[in-house]
Amino acid sequence: MTATRHGRFAPYLFLAPFLAVFAVFVAYPLAQSVVLSTRQMFGPTASTYVGLDNFRFLLQDPLFHKAVRNTLVFTAGSLFIQLPVALGLALLLDRPGLRGRNALRLVFFAPQLVGLVFLAVMASVIFQKRTGVLNQILEEVLGDRLGWVLQSGPWLDYPWLESQVMWALILSALWMYAGLNMVYFLAALQNVDRSLKEAASIDGAGVVRRFFAVTLPAITPVAGFVVLLSVVGSLQLFELPYILLNAGGGPDNQGLTIVTYLYQSGFETGDLGYASAIGWVLAIMLAVFTLLQRFVLRGRNA
């Protein structure tokens, strides 16, 4: 490479914005969050040193426990409901001859364009009882044939936002993210060797057998990445429940998530120290899931 005198500085110049932003808005705050987590803060600057008390208190804080439980329930919903749906859509759409394939892909992807804030505002009306469109449709389609699965009563009165908050969140996220994950799975399915699939089919392997023997191994690397993205995103859930439930955790904090609690502690209570401690616990959870995913994937490949 002919490095002119000018050219020698070029890479540093090109990287300067990234490095500057990283130093001021990532590295420094990261270090600062360690300091903050050992302090009780009153507003942005006044504080007292409390050592590990923030973490000690977190371990016994029933609200934090609730937030962790809710967040894990939501994560389970993403993994065990949303991802299978996304994979199913991708498998059905991954046939070259299917007419209207691109239009269908666009339809399933479209909800992704609605931001979480706007989804939350829509959901707050959709999930209303009596006036909400979801209950109206359920009433029309199912009538009183099913009652409500659990109790008896018209579907119109089904109280999503009073006693089924987590389901409302999981269903909203399913609508929004299934199409995005479908796109990832569709990309992954490009790696499936078609001739291998045909060979398996000629050898008499059924649809299920072909999926587990040929398709699944081929998409495992991308699927692992999608699972990780899903878990990381789900554990950081905030906007959707916060706005849907009127700037909080909803009735009896049924929809309180870890980041909602972090936000409330930092900006409503005004204790950036406790908020930082919550942030670190969340970071540890994320790290554990990431390592777990690596471990599982490596076990698969070996």
Binding site: T4, L15, A20, L89, R95, V125, Q236
Partner: protein, 286 residues
């Protein structure tokens, strides 16, 4: 083989039986969003979608109203929030795309002292969870005097690590080093090569990344909620969330506000769709 053909037609029919109802379910909220935005308060409860009547297709078209939209712009001044969103999102998207492309290009194509460290920093920054930075980040902005300024909201987002990383991959894949040498021999400066040779070659990626960063800022709620305090500086995300708090019983108005917020993004997506999808799959597979 006629049997194989029959079989594939059957399985295609099977695919439609599952896909079409799901497509309808996916579209219902959109249809409902659009129709609710044009209904007055009274009509909102009268019908699920469009009010029934004697007009074309059995719909009472005359009952629809623009009242929600006129109220949005006169009573609630949503126009200002719309402009704020447009400004914040386009500036962030442009700066982030430039900074990330430049950073990724440097990491991919130059040999320089500290390259290994820079790459390690990018990879490390990738795994820092955003919520961890909320509280200390707020403190940093407070100390820098950037609270309640657009700069405070835009600056932290102009060079995300995942963008630098994506562009590094993209440069490695689609920029041949010989072309850069040719540019240098022709007397092109380093900046000129980046702007005239490299950037055009990164086309699908830049389109996708512009779209991603624009969307991220457009839909960003926690950022403006924490950084901005003056009501007239708020973008749509915060304005609509506040609308929900105040007018929570005025469903038509809320849906009109949501529609105004979602429509520009949908238009942008349709314009950049091809770049977006190819860029997205590029990033996902490689």
């Amino acid at each position: 083989m006629p049997t194989a053909k029959h079989k594939s037609i059957l399985s295609a029919a099977g695919a439609y039986v599952v896909l079409l109802p799901l497509a309808v379910i996916t579209l219902v909220p959109f249809v409902w969003l659009v129709t609710s935005a044009f209904k007055s308060r009274e009509q909102f409860f009268g019908s699920m979608f469009l009010p029934r009547g004697d007009g074309l297709l059995g719909v009472d078209w005359a009952a629809l109203t623009l009242e929600n939209f006129t109220r949005l712009f006169s009573e609630i001044a949503i126009g200002r929030a719309l402009l704020n969103s447009l400004f914040l999102s386009s500036v962030t998207a442009l700066l982030a795309t430039l900074c990330c492309a430049a950073g990724g290009y440097a990491l991919a194509m130059y040999k320089f002292k500290g390259r290994g460290i820079c790459l390690a920093i990018v990879l490390a920054a990738l795994i820092v969870p955003a919520p961890l930075l909320i509280a200390p980040g707020y403190q940093v902005l407070f100390k820098l005097g950037l609270l309640d300024t657009y700069t405070g909201l835009i600056l932290p987002g102009i060079a995300p690590a995942f963008g630098v990383f994506l562009f590094r991959q993209s440069v490695l894949q689609s920029v041949p080093p010989e072309l850069l040498e040719a540019g240098r021999l022709d007397g092109c400066g380093e900046l000129g090569i980046f702007a005239r040779v490299v950037l055009p070659l990164l086309r699908p990626m830049t389109g996708a990344f512009l779209m991603i960063t624009f969307l991220a800022m457009w839909n960003n709620f926690i950022g403006p909620q924490i950084v901005l305090q003056s009501p007239d500086k708020q973008p749509l995300s915060v304005a609509i969330a506040q609308l929900k708090g105040v007018y929570y019983e005025d469903y038509g108005l809320m849906m009109a506000g949501t529609l105004v917020s979602v429509a520009p993004v949908a238009v942008l997506f349709l314009l950049l769709q091809r770049d977006f999808v190819s860029g997205l799959t590029l990033g996902a597979v490689k």
